[in-house]
């Protein structure tokens, strides 16, 4: 599949399906260092997104249109920090992807825009044990891949791989932003839920674009 509008719908449907499958895993992570709702939050959000996609009268014209629908739906349905964070990420991404199809450069731009959205909203930097620790390496790997002339599929694959590794590496970090910062040192040794779901989102992008 090329990274076109149809793909963007498949991507988001795939995210929704995986979130639903794995929601208790995410909630369990959030129980350790948060308030035990990240799985339910995202599942509520992506369930609403799929409902809205199903209800579309016309097929969206650009990838940006799809991502904007995702953004506004997550913002108003997630109910936790990840709502405005992913909402802003998809909103910025939608502006960067106001096109019917992505090449490698555009795929990289989409991911950078998402990172920029999360950073603007959450004001976290790398190393604070948040989803930034997945988005930032993902954006860097995507930029590298695009610079090497790779296509959208390769760019998303590189990003997904870097996000997964970034999420894994949050285990060793001490949280200084978000709810987990209440735990201070005791947050070390646990994987960040938001970084974990960021890896899922990019993994779905890579898988569906193959």
């Amino acid at each position: 599949m090329t990274a076109d509008v149809q793909w963007s719908l498949s991507w988001i449907r795939d995210v929704a399906a995986r979130v639903s499958e794995r929601k208790s895993e995410f909630t369990t992570l959030d129980r350790e260092i948060g308030d035990a709702d990240h799985g339910e939050n995202l599942n509520r959000g992506f369930t609403a997104v799929v409902e809205r996609i199903d209800g579309l009268e016309q097929p969206p014209g650009t990838i940006g249109d799809v991502l904007k629908l995702v953004a506004t739906t997550l913002m108003s349905t997630v109910g936790g920090a990840s709502g405005p964070l992913y909402g802003t990420a998809f909103l910025r991404a939608s502006k960067a992807a106001a096109v019917p199809e992505l090449d490698g450069q555009a795929a990289s731009a989409l991911i950078s825009a998402a990172l920029e959205g999360v950073s603007t909203r959450g004001k976290a930097v790398v190393g604070e044990k948040t989803m930034i620790d997945a988005w930032a390496p993902a954006a860097a790997a995507a930029a590298q891949s695009a610079e090497n002339g790779e296509d959208a599929a390769q760019v998303f694959a590189a990003a997904a791989q870097a996000a997964a590794q970034g999420a894994e590496e949050t285990i060793e970090l001490k949280a200084t932003k978000g709810r987990a910062s209440y735990l201070g040192e005791r947050s070390v040794g646990h994987k960040d839920p938001g970084a974990t779901t960021t890896a899922l989102i990019l993994e779905s992008a890579a898988r569906t674009v193959q």
């Binding site: 939050n41 997630v78 109910g79 936790g80 709502g83 405005p84 802003t88 909203r121 709810r179």
Partner: protein, 139 residues
């Protein structure tokens, strides 16, 4: 404007928001205080739609008859994720409210009471926000 600054309390819990409003009203009976507490189904979390609605209501925008200018509004949040949600709402603010909505970085209950007392006196929006941000427990 002559009208008092209004407050919006954004909380993860409806009870918490309403309880804080009840306390503040005792000391500031004339200030408009709107709450956005919890999710639509009553569970814990923050709701974009409730926050938007509370801000528009507090700004007097819901019942606005065209001409009227929006009131200034100070928003006080209970936790970081309420702040993030409110910031997203502010990105989508109706044109007429832009420049009228201020967020205070304050301890929730203490900030709400201090802001309400300040607003009751007729102080301007910056003074109300400052009162919230400087609020400490009074003994």
């Amino acid at each position: 404007m002559g009208t008092k600054v209004s407050l919006v309390l954004v909380s993860h819990s409806e009870k918490l928001a309403e309880g804080a409003r009840d306390l503040a009203r005792q000391m500031a009976s004339e200030v408009v205080i709107e709450v956005a507490g919890g999710l639509e189904d009553g569970s814990i979390g923050t709701s974009f739609d409730r926050i938007s609605a509370a801000i528009e209501e507090a700004a007097g925008f819901a019942e606005s008859d065209e001409e009227q200018e929006a009131h200034d509004v100070v928003v006080i949040c209970d936790l970081g994720s309420a702040i993030l949600s409110t910031e997203s709402v502010l990105e989508f603010l109706p044109e007429e409210l832009v420049g009228h909505v201020y967020m205070a970085d304050a301890p929730f209950v203490e900030g709400v009471i201090a802001a309400a007392v300040e607003a009751e006196s007729g102080a301007g929006v910056e003074a109300v926000r400052t009162a919230a941000e400087e609020a400490r427990a009074f003994h």
